[in-house]
Subunit: 138 residues, 2 copies
DNA sequence: TGTAATCCCTATTAAATTGATAGGATTAAT
DNA sequence: ATTAATCCTATCAATTTAATAGGGATTACA
């Protein structure tokens, strides 16, 4: 299941992408419009900024803005920042690899093989989707 | 992340599929061979039996057996029993649908659209994979 | 220069979930 | 009867998640 953090983060990014004008978008505005607890959202946008996806401007009339064009922001990056590994088991993760405690031999593990397929298919979706796709209002 | 329950369940099913002879396979044997806490595994096999995937024989020389051929046991069914919904958000789940508390309008939700794609691709994998594929020792 | 608005940071908490354990009841083979 | 297995329920500890709280630092602007 997708965490609220990720869901809220995706909605916020979409909101920012849609409001891109000259001035940065404020947390309070996003929180209100998207029905997200403001303090919770603050933390989420902070991690998105630290990861380089968002930029921010402090002080009065401050807020958040995208560091790149929506069409340049891939879901792979966003999802990894918000949700962590895309793979369902660590032993299959490209960016967060870890050996499983059980499992003496990965090559012989039936779960491993199945999860590689799932990972590849999910990756395909995330690689082919950008924030521009999310914010297209069709 | 895949729960241990699901991982253990998949390994156990694979084990049973590979040992299919005349007599049922015992929990203790699986637990030992696959390094799974026995009592935990008991519960897992119980739910697999209640869902109709496994059958059991009680008492001495009892154990568990597959109710169908491995090639008839689809991952969609196994995953839904062990892990629950395949979709990452309830509003996109085919078998466990629920409206999201936030989200006034699903059709306009950017997360919704993305997660439908992920779901469909994951489903594709699970529908095309059976226990026979998992237990093929290549 | 002061005040309000905004992001920034850390700590805390409550609830839910997960992984595991415990103890025995029931059933069947010998 | 005895033994060996499944079956069932309850409980527990650890972790994770979602949310809240309280204030610090920075900036615009009157």
């Amino acid at each position: 299941m997708l965490s609220k953090k990720t869901k809220y983060g995706l909605k916020a990014l979409t909101y920012i992408a849609r409001s891109e004008g000259d001035s940065p978008v404020q947390v309070g505005e996003i929180a209100k419009s998207e029905q997200i607890p403001q303090k919770f959202l603050e933390g989420i946008l902070l991690t998105l900024r630290k990861s380089g996806i968002l930029g921010s401007k402090k002080g009065k009339h401050g807020g958040y803005y995208l560091r790149n064009e929506p069409s340049e922001i891939k879901m792979t990056d966003v999802m990894r920042v918000l949700e962590g590994p895309i793979a369902m088991v660590p032993c299959v993760s490209l960016n967060f690899y870890e050996k499983c405690d059980d499992c003496p031999d990965e090559d012989k593990c039936s779960v491993n093989k199945l999860m590689i397929q799932v990972r590849d298919n999910t990756l395909k979706v995330f690689r082919n989707t950008t924030l521009a796709d999310l914010s297209d209002t069709n």
